[in-house]
Symmetry: C2
Subunit: 448 residues, 2 copies
């Protein structure tokens, strides 16, 4: 039997690591309540098409001292698997980790003031300090471990961004081949560089993104190809740990708000689930309010929220913040649930507001990719609008490293922009090789 | 008095944070033994021009349980300041940290086999997981904290690479202006993107690198401008913690070898000092051997070593590994001391060997910039040559993140290279939007 024939099952029925353990994990539809065994690669309810949640036991109280204990050796250094009591119990031998998580929770009061909050009232959780430089690694360690557990022969996604880089890295760590499908158009090697370096097979489809995803779904149905898309319930389990870790870093003191960028709304969904679970097991006694920030050019969920959730309408997305440039988010019902459960809010900010907030974050030496800055830009807007009180506390989530998008830096600060320089642009200057010239620069720097 | 006049002292005499504390730190010339107070920004001995060491007390035994305790609050989350008992006692109020350090120590036996070692005998310390994505942050947190302690009005360096990005970030964190001088020629905004984003003033000098450095030295002499170059003894103190941390992660079990890339030889110097100090305070009972790996096109120290340290000759540097493309390293005597004290070795590898090793590291999902891969390439060579035994253990140091040099990825895997594709190149493929085409790709991936 050839490798392809062996893979032509699409059922993941028993060739994985400790299949019985995986089969005991329960996945439940959030709409109709149908339950499935965790030994399959489901991304939607077979009965009603609803979104799926991994069921985590929350009947007993959990003590924070449990975290970091009893974790399988392969996850011992992971800031994701540390939260083992609140994660799906995947077989120890299937766990694939690159020491993700344990990211900084920065305080820089210049940014609190930028947002309009008091000193000490804003912290920033920097997920760009993960192994592939974005928060995606937290979900990917769980997703790829699940793929390994159920015997996936290959893992695949349709993405040109942070997801594909993370998938490629974790698939490489697991020694499972990975496929990344991208729509037709010029392949920007720079943008895909990480994905290519980690060894994913990048396939450019003569078609659009929808065709690519549709083809992937066909492949998934016929072969043991594990589809890693944003509604994969196991990935969301890993993304929950952003909230677990930031609250543990705050010694379980709950901030008034957690502010995060919203694109496909996977993080928003995961954050809501994380908070509900922490509350159920007694680790927090109240819920922070979630504030989800979309880019104005890709804000269908903000519009849905503003309209009282009457009717959801997808949009044609357009924003400089490529990581949240999504016109038809996959996790709308789940994100709505998260907002409702946390008495949360949804807002939107313009590209100018995003780039201005990014410049502010960059100038503190923290740095982030454009989409990340939507957190700070949105918070600033919410404070101005009185939704967030000036005396309230907030944690903002930065989702990717400043190195993820150097083109955005060049566009903002570079001199290839038509017209007048942008206010705050930082352009290299050229001077003669003599001390007086340098002294003039010095004087300028000291006054600047 | 204007800000420029205020800065025109070049003595750093008392305007810093807790100047008395800084003054008690002793800096000693490694050649003539002359001693200086730590309240100055010295980078060479005023008496003989020798390299300077910060004197750290090693008379008493240090217990590993002390680490992480008594650390000033600003450094509480730092993997550098954790080692407070073996670092200069800078005033607590001067410490500037971005939660650097705490980097992974990866084990991936595919790379042990690549090097020719047994499974479990190779670990890789990934310094690319620092805040600005290179090991430079470890030295910079100490350097910029020292600058703040002695009242620097401005910090400066001559560099286009990882040092300037790190300096810019830490200066921004400290709210001290920073100057980065670069030689004439086209400014590649992409390469400098991080530095520009963090807000450093980038000054392009109409002259070469030597003129830039010479001008900076003039400026340093006349003003309170703190020069952050590779021989700054305070930076080396921070770089020591790479060794502290990797040994603590190994529970103080000493590997037979520590292998690292060699450019300016600052890390080699710092590693030697770190090991000497750990041995003196009783934390390790033997020294690992240091293996320093240079790129063949920038290998003056390897030639010096091969010639029995008879005569050192600078070279015109040329290598794809830009981070170690240095023809006249600044820390030669100190690195020689490190090699001699650890019974170490120095070798060199070709650019092809570096790129091949990088591709191997990238393909495991770990990833690194080209210079980092010199560690693995050098180890492989040393095993082949019998210098490192196949049954010995080694830790290799990866100095920068894969995102630091996406151009190198494009050059290696891209199809803009003339002639035949490089063996192992990973090129995107284009297929029609239909299942059979994708099935062929799948078959290929499963057999590949």
């Amino acid at each position: 039997m050839s490798a392809v024939e062996a893979a032509r099952r699409g059922a993941f029925d028993g060739s994985g690591v400790a299949p019985d353990d995986v089969a005991r994990i329960v996945v439940r539809c959030m709409d109709c309540g149908a339950e499935y065994s965790g030994n399959r690669a489901l991304t939607m309810c077979a009965a009603c098409g609803g979104l799926l949640d991994v069921v985590v036991p929350v009947e007993r109280r959990v003590d924070a001292a449990e975290f970091g204990h009893g974790v399988p050796a392969a996850g011992a250094h992971s800031g994701v698997w540390r939260y083992w009591p609140l994660l799906p119990s995947l077989p120890a031998a299937s766990i694939v980790s690159r020491w993700e998580g344990h990211t900084p929770l920065y305080r820089d009061d210049r940014l609190a003031r930028y947002a309009g909050l008091q000193d000490g009232h804003l912290e920033l959780k920097h997920e760009g300090l993960n192994p592939t430089a974005s928060f995606k690694d937290r979900g990917m360690t769980v997703g790829v471990s699940h793929a390994k557990a159920i015997g996936a022969r290959i893992v695949a996604c349709a993405s040109t961004g942070n997801t594909s880089a993370s998938l490629a890295a974790y698939a490489a760590a697991a020694d499972i081949p990975s496929l990344v499908l991208i729509p037709e158009g010029k392949v920007a090697t720079g943008k895909l560089a990480q994905t290519i370096a980690y060894g994913a097979r990048v396939i450019q489809i003569d078609g659009d993104f929808d065709q690519a995803l549709s083809l992937l779904r066909e492949l998934t149905a016929a072969y043991d190809v594990y589809l890693v898309n944003s509604v994969n319930p196991f990935r969301l389990e890993g993304q929950k740990t952003i909230v677990f870790e930031l609250l543990e870093q705050r010694e379980w003191r709950v901030p008034d708000w957690i502010v995060l960028p919203g694109g496909n709304l996977g993080n928003s969904s995961a954050f809501g689930k994380a908070l509900t679970e922490l509350h159920a097991v007694g680790l927090i006694d109240r819920l922070p309010r979630l504030a989800i920030v979309q880019a104005a050019g890709a804000a269908p969920f903000a519009a849905y929220h503003a309209g009282g959730y009457a009717a959801f309408r997808p949009v044609a997305a357009d924003t400089v913040a490529t990581a949240i440039k999504i016109g038809n988010p996959a996790s709308v019902p789940r994100a709505k649930r998260a907002v409702e459960r946390t008495n949360g809010w949804v807002t939107m900010v313009t590209d100018d507001e995003i780039l201005d907030a990014k410049a502010a974050i960059d100038r503190t030496g923290i740095g982030c990719e454009p989409a990340s800055a939507a957190s700070l830009a949105g918070l600033r807007r919410l404070v101005r609008e009185g939704i967030v009180g000036r005396e309230e506390t907030a944690v903002g989530v930065l989702t990717g490293h400043v190195l993820k998008d150097t083109e955005a830096i060049a566009a903002y600060h570079g001199d290839d922009v038509a017209g007048a320089p942008r206010r705050g642009a930082n352009r290299p200057t050229r001077v003669p090789a003599e001390l007086p010239a340098l002294e003039r620069v010095l004087a300028d720097a000291l006054h600047g």
